[in-house]
């Protein structure tokens, strides 16, 4: 198909009722497809390592797979494998995995960075942790671990007890690092972070400035790389993994993250969740979203106005209110560990009426409060002057970088997993997906503010449902075997809409009670990649604003 042809209504390989026709896709790819695997979420096409660009290009151009959601790398006893999880922004239920095996003694595979910009960092991570090398990659170096690290920690023969011995001269002084700036220009290299209040954690930005303007920014990650994937791989499905998701996106988004794991593991092991538990999940997850967005808004205001001003304090005060509700429900303020595979840990707190009343009160309080936030932020001229038309992220670029969540919706991309690939109880409830096509810092902040309103709406409806639920049908957990051992070699990749965007989990089971590979697709990691586009050419304070509007959380970026 040539590029000039108008695109048909349906993509190649799409059936009229919105399913993927894998046979037609295989036909489209012809002899590129060596073999077909079936994963729980989609089919996987096995291809040769030197056909990656060609295959992904066809799939992107002709079959409409415009979202490279994740790249998973793993090592088997006989081979390395990279899996490209493809989706469509129009319909994320249409998925396809492209599986690229490479030899064990020569793990070289073609890089997909020329087709999808987002592949850049994903492949760097795969190289860093697993050790696959990507040919023609624009910038293949370690991303999470220090440059001097020896070995690839998620490869099979890695010995963790081996001390890392680094000659001092290799461990360069951070201030001397990387100042390869063209000589003729009058530029300055400056490190922002890793200890800096504006970086929202331990992010390090290597920036090259021309006067006050940013000409180059290179985020340096890994200052909070806590081996989350390793931790999950050595924990059991039933109970041990669940506390970790709370600590990925730790801005009170715990239940949203737990749900990501629950969703992946439940569809891997084919576990049903009672409807009643789904409603509780939906309600508590939205509370988490409110808490998370409040902090995002508060710290964004902090970045813009530059001091611990009213908005930050208001946001924290309101967060205390949500956290009290969550604490009543789960017993913890931040690390809830409330979901279980098969349901939730326990029922609503007694007396129920009192709890419902508190939640209701909060839900009516939120819209009033939002007026205040809008007065202080979006209707404030000082704020507008700082954020309107800065940090522009056009929708095509956002898609190329795999941006999701409020970042994508602030660029006018109508994409929300809760609606497009429904889980929990979302499809039964009345709420709207908020988008704004300003594509700037303002839009992203605005989208978050309005999402708080929608979340309150969802919570209110959940409370109505829960209140009327007959007493003898309040089933919070379904039955599952004591030790959960999903079938060997079953693979699943599932995503949910977390606070920052699409949070995906890939699990491969090997027949034991622990996953053989556990990969986290972090929304903040993908969103952060677009900082370069948003910041270059802008002034330094606008870069800080852009970073704040991305609302990254380093626990999730570095994992």
């Amino acid at each position: 198909m040539s590029l000039e042809q108008p695109r048909p209504e349906l993509d190649v390989g799409e059936t009229p009722d919105g399913e993927v026709d894998y046979d037609e896709l295989a036909e489209l790819l012809g002899e590129y497809v060596l073999d077909r695997e079936s994963h729980v979420n989609a089919e996987g096409f096995v291809i040769r390592p030197d056909d990656v660009v060609a295959v992904l290009d066809i799939l992107k151009r002709d079959a409409g797979f415009d979202n490279l959601s994740c790249v998973t790398a793993q090592e088997y006893y006989d081979r390395y494998e990279s899996i490209y999880h493809l989706k469509k922004y129009d319909d994320p239920t249409q998925e396809l995995s492209v599986v690229v095996p490479t030899l064990r003694d020569e793990p070289v595979s073609q890089s997909a960075a020329s087709v999808f910009d987002t592949a850049n960092w994903h492949e760097r991570e795969a190289y860093d942790l697993v050790g696959i090398e990507y040919e023609d990659h624009p910038d293949l170096r370690r991303i999470l671990l220090p440059d001097t690290w020896q070995g690839h920690p998620l490869s099979l023969d890695y010995n963790q007890d081996q001390p890392q011995i680094v000659a001092l001269r290799e461990h360069a002084d951070p201030m001397e690092h990387r100042s390869e700036v063209p000589d003729e220009q009058d530029t300055m290299f400056i490190n922002i972070g890793p200890h800096h209040p504006a970086t929202h954690g331990v992010l390090h930005l290597r920036t090259v400035l021309d006067g006050e303007q940013v000409i180059d920014v290179d985020p340096d990650l890994g200052y909070l790389h806590r081996c989350e994937e390793q931790m999950c791989q050595q924990s059991t499905y039933r109970h041990q993994i669940m506390p970790y998701p709370d600590r990925w996106d730790y801005i009170s988004a715990g239940i949203l993250n737990e749900w990501a794991y629950a969703r992946a593991a439940e569809s891997l092991a084919d576990i049903d969740v009672p409807e009643y538990a789904q409603i509780i999940r939906t309600m508590s997850a939205e509370m988490c979203r409110i808490a998370s967005h409040l902090l995002a808004v508060g710290t964004f205001a902090l970045d813009i106005y530059g001091d611990f001003t009213a908005i930050f304090m208001y946001a924290i005060t309101d967060r205390e209110k949500v956290e009290n509700l969550l604490e009543d429900l789960t017993g913890q303020r931040l690390m809830f560990n409330y979901l279980r595979l098969r349901g939730v840990a326990w029922d609503l707190p007694e007396p129920r009426e009192e709890y419902f009343e508190k939640v209701r009160e909060f839900c009516t309080y939120v819209p009033e409060r939002l007026e205040e936030y809008h007065n202080l932020l979006s209707a404030n001229e000082l704020f507008q002057m700082r954020v309107i038309d800065t940090g522009i992220l056009p929708p095509e670029v956002a898609k190329a970088y795999g941006c999701t969540g409020p970042v994508a919706r602030g660029s006018g991309i109508d994409y929300d997993i809760r609606r497009d690939d429904p889980y929990g109880y979302y499809d039964e409830l009345e709420w709207d997906v908020i988008t704004d096509d300003g594509c700037d810092n303002f839009s992203r902040a605005f989208v978050r503010l309005e999402e708080i309103r929608q979340s309150a709406r969802i919570i209110e409806q959940c409370v109505d449902l829960l209140e009327e639920w007959p007493e003898d049908e309040r089933e919070i957990q379904s039955n599952v075997p004591r030790t959960l051992k999903p079938d060997a070699d079953s693979e699943v990749y599932r995503t949910v809409e977390a606070a920052k965007g699409e949070l995906g989990i890939y699990i491969r089971a090997d027949g034991t009670d622990k996953p053989a590979r556990f990969k986290i697709r972090s929304p903040a990691f993908c969103n952060l990649q677009s900082l370069e586009v948003m910041a270059e050419g802008e002034y330094v304070p606008d870069m800080v604003a852009a970073l704040g509007s991305l609302d990254i959380v380093l626990g999730e970026v570095d994992r």
Binding site: G222, L224, D246, F308
Partner: protein
């Protein structure tokens, strides 16, 4: 009612002490409970060290330092509801050169360890460290991670440990109060670095000493050894 009288009494009393002290015609704006307590002779006799410790404990400038999940609870501790400032310890300073307490709120990994040490080194003496959360005690939930430092004490000395994952704001407040007590009691004297390794060169002049030491270093062999797997 009784309170008012009390206040009134106090004022009156104060007035009288003041009059006794200064006589008529002097500006009467300076008046306080403290004055009253001092009576006619506004002097305190104390040991300088005790005074300094008291001052130090009551005006702690904490470094604005966020690492991981615990820093969210730390922010809540600073902010409206818990308001650490009530205890004379809540002004976060963004620059380490203006801070004398560092709360370490989160997991330290190999890449961040040296940076944290650098920040710590930049703080002026005397300085105090509060480690917040299990991660800073032992590595916490991530203890077995290949990249995780098993507690801040591997890198910098710690005065107060606040356990929890994350500790509640109340717990952090308690920890900070304990630190204040400790400082006020003078238990943490300013750190004096005793270069005991250098004693063998005791008879050398300073410059010669540096020369001498520098010649002992073989630059090619200098290594940093990250061996956190073996640490307790």
């Amino acid at each position: 009612m009784s309170k008012e009288t009390q206040l009134h009494d106090t004022l009156e009393q104060a007035q009288s002490t003041q009059d006794a002290r200064m006589g008529p015609g002097v500006d009467d704006r300076f008046n306080s409970k403290l004055r009253q307590a001092f009576g006619a002779s506004p002097f305190i006799l104390t040991k300088f060290d005790a005074f300094m410790n008291w001052v130090r404990g009551n005006s702690m400038f904490i470094l604005l330092f966020g690492i991981a999940c615990c820093s969210i609870e730390m922010m809540h501790t600073y902010a409206a509801k818990h308001d650490l400032d009530r205890f004379g310890a809540g002004v976060p300073r963004a620059s380490p050169r203006q801070a004398d307490v560092i709360i370490v709120p989160g997991t330290i990994v190999s890449k961040f360890g040296p940076r944290m040490q650098r920040v710590y080194d930049q703080m002026p003496e005397p300085k105090f460290v509060v480690s917040m959360g299990s991660c800073t005690i032992s590595g916490g939930p991530f203890q077995e991670g290949y990249n995780v430092v098993k507690g801040v004490e591997e890198i910098i000395p710690v005065d107060i440990h606040v356990p929890g994952c994350p500790p509640r704001p109340e717990a952090l407040v308690y920890g900070v109060l304990k630190l204040q007590e400790q400082i006020q009691a003078g238990e943490s004297a300013p750190v004096t670095v005793k270069p005991y390794e250098l004693e063998q060169f005791g008879d050398l002049e300073r410059d010669e000493l540096v020369q001498e030491l520098a010649s002992e270093i073989d630059e090619d062999d200098l290594v940093m050894r990250y061996n956190w797997a073996e640490s307790p």
